[in-house]
Symmetry: C2
Subunit: 493 residues, 2 copies
């Protein structure tokens, strides 16, 4: 690690932990640190580098999250096997090049709304409030801190210049200015490599998938993890796409399992699997990209729905950032990061599919109002989005900490997971009680929690000892969280 010391001395402009992380990652990528090799302990490295131990821990934590190293209990940190290493230089550049959200250390990318157990729970037209004292819905976001005043001001300013140009129909892909802004944002915050030409704006995630159907064609076999985002599952089903459920381990979709299917397209959420919260490590990512690269027509849909809200370490780069073969279709929306009501989502098409889009889909007019596109563009380009995200992260982190601490009180009986990112977490009953029992007891106490089976393709949760429930907290206030957890602790005691 002498090289690291030299590097640290030279590269003063970065957070220390980032430099350590970057150095070790490079060493692994270049093969100078090999599979199975043991890293120095955090204590010895911190002493050697004369930095605090927590700095080294932060760096190791990030390497762990991204799958470069693994921790073996009582033995220390070891280099993981990384299937194949593509050149990640661009992502490195992106992080360096003044990424707007860099300072927080928890920055991230695109989001999606309407994640919910199964699909929409509300009937059309229904807007009645929840009948529960506390509804731990993984759906919903906190709109109380939405910058209404800013939004109004931007809207007003834009309408002041209102002209006929703005009220005319625009490009089918969306306004170039907004696509440019989104491309820049995704590059700096998520490492996504794309030109604005590759960005297609559409009215929400569902519409984006409908467009994708037109691009991919019919009878495309799709592989999905199980449990998964059931709404996407239902939408693929509505396309009459054959769907294969692929088993999932602690690293996400099993590529071995994927190979047993005839799937052409794998649908994954590498930054934060929904609902399991798994972060796909670099090794698995490379395996997945390798799978896609082996046959023409294979693609990976990366649904990057809530990666803005990561509460530990640096953001996980997008899978698209590692894609050199044009195999990743990157999708995201502003539903979770701004508001579900604005109905703006996007996808980034790899070049081969962009050509198909140009051929088949330019006929479809844009589905997003031009005025709304302008407002959003100004909201992002004017720095309001960044400020909003930072505020939201703070709000969500407080709720998150409250949740984690509250759940720790139940720690004897429940295993907590998926808590490092996103806006929900999972509790598994260590005493083997069923999901059904947990949900029913909670409902009796006026608390709605969501059984894992509600996220499963066939409505049956994967076999495991003890039921698992999903608890979302974004839309709850702190009082509700406290009350809800207290009630749960009581009825689940």
């Amino acid at each position: 690690m002498n090289g690291l010391l030299v590097a640290l001395c030279q590269d003063g402009g970065k957070h220390l932990y980032e430099q350590i992380y970057g150095y070790i990652k490079e060493e692994i990528r270049k093969g100078r640190l090999r599979f199975g090799e043991r890293l120095p302990s955090t204590r010895s490295l911190s002493e050697f580098l004369q930095v605090s131990r927590s700095t080294v821990e932060l760096a190791y934590g990030q390497l762990l999250s991204e799958g470069y190293i693994e921790a073996r209990p009582y033995r220390g940190y070891f280099v993981c096997q990384v299937e194949e290493l593509f050149d990640l230089a661009d992502w490195g550049t992106a992080v360096k090049s003044g990424a707007p959200f860099r300072e927080t250390g928890r920055e991230s990318g695109a989001a999606d709304g309407e994640r919910n157990a199964g699909e929409r729970r509300k009937e059309p037209g229904e807007t009645a409030g929840s009948p529960y004292v506390c509804d731990f819905s993984p759906d919903g976001i906190d709109m109380t801190v939405f910058p209404y005043a800013t939004w109004k001001k931007i809207t007003k300013d834009i309408l002041v210049d209102a002209n006929s140009e703005m009220f005319s129909s625009g490009s089918p892909k969306g306004d170039y200015a907004l696509r440019e802004t989104i491309a820049r944002y995704l590059h700096s915050s998520r490492g996504v490599n794309c030109r604005p030409e590759q960005v297609i704006i559409g009215a929400g995630n569902d519409y984006i998938l409908m467009l994708l159907e037109k691009i991919l064609g019919r009878h495309v076999e799709v592989a999905m993890e199980n449990p998964t985002y059931r709404k996407a599952y239902r939408i693929f089903e509505s396309f009459a796409y054959p769907i294969s459920a692929v088993e999932m381990d602690g690293f996400g979709m099993s590529v071995e399992g994927l190979r047993k299917t005839a799937a052409k397209v794998a649908y994954v959420m590498p930054s934060h699997q929904y609902p399991m919260g798994v972060v796909m490590p670099i090794g698995r990512r490379m395996e997945l990209l390798k799978w896609a690269g082996e046959q023409e027509g294979r693609y990976v849909i990366e649904d990057d729905y809530d990666s803005e809200f990561r509460f530990k370490g640096k953001p996980i780069p997008s899978l698209q950032a590692s894609d050199r073969l044009g195999k990743v279709i990157y999708t995201g929306t502003f539903s979770k990061s701004i508001a579900p009501a604005i109905r703006i989502g996007y996808m980034v098409l790899p070049l081969p599919l962009l050509r198909v889009y140009e051929e088949r889909c330019r006929i479809y007019s844009t589905t997003v109002s031009r005025i709304d596109q302008r407002i959003l563009n100004e909201f992002i380009a004017g720095g309001h989005f960044e400020r909003h995200l930072n505020r939201m992260r703070k709000v969500y982190r407080e709720k998150h900490d409250l949740m984690v601490n509250g759940c720790r009180g139940m720690g004897r009986n429940f295993a907590l997971s998926g808590e490092n990112a996103g806006l929900h977490l999972l509790l598994r009953d260590k005493r083997g009680r069923s999901e059904k029992l947990l949900v029913e007891r909670a409902v009796k106490a006026g608390v709605r929690v969501y059984g894992l089976s509600e996220f499963c393709m066939d409505g049956v949760a994967p076999k495991q000892e003890g039921g698992t429930v999903v608890l979302g907290y974004a839309a709850l206030d702190k009082g509700q969280i406290r009350t809800g957890l207290e009630l749960l602790e009581k009825v689940w005691a």
Copy 2:
């Protein structure tokens, strides 16, 4: 016609011409005036009723437009054959029941934007102005009189009450309040019979068709007139729907021709065929509905894209108004009547298809921002839409008259058609010169006109003596229209 005199005396609340029209229509519908029977001449009827002759002419004109009667040169007016008479009572009620636009006498319904020769002529992202001195594009609308101030004020007022409810995701079909408003508007202005539950709001006509694909299913053979709205043609093509071109006569799609195809769905524009401007008379409408009623699974898509802008007589009722069997899918947008940029369209589903929608499509989130839905709802419900339409009708009527008078100057050499409604008209060269020659000569003079072949499925105009060109005028100012027509007269002399 003694009954008419009695009726006139009793029913003082209506325009005289409307009473005459209504009375004769009833007589025909009830079979008291039979097929082939001759009506009194306008002069004798006006003398008999002691009303001005122009009042009777107006009434006869409306009956002509709707296909109840026909004019035979030098012989007078005769009752047409009406295939089958459904009960139109509801439409009558709608017209009576204080329709908000009744007073103008030219009121009408839903509109669509982006009608253009072929499809979009602009490349994505391209916003450069036209290279022509005058571009008679049938696309585009006049945005100079758009009530920006009102729109801004509504937006501002709505954002003042901005709350989290409004920023949450709404019903997949669209907000109930807006669907109610649209249902009411369509009923009063277009005679459309529907409950708000049948109205589905979506981001523009193309998206509505994409939803319709999900409802109708795959490999649905569609029949279209030729020439037609080529964008819809291209969209059906993108669904891989087999498309049959059905010949058209002066009454619209030939139902005899339709019967020769295997089509399940007929796509028509009964109020104003695009681009030919033909109004489908009541007899043909009944034939079409009869065709649909003969087999389960047959439907008629009524694209009611620009019926707001009719310059003679009362509005033509929608085909949906005559549908008693649940066979008509009514579609429209606000692109032409408000602005293409707002991206709000809708369809009214007949009950059998509504059930299919509920089954298959509730999964798709709405594509229209809730804020925009509120703004539009307030714009219509607050009476601003009515005022705007009336203003637009005045503006378009002036341009229309300028066009018609200007074209009459070329009357010796050109036959004018399609001029009673909509925002374009057609000129056919009586001297047999080709479309190509006309377009090329115009372009040389810096004037863009659109050959009829650009609207044809195979790009070949139907055989007729002399080429036909389409001239739109909505987006042009009066000076441009004058200049353009002068130039055309010169180069086409």
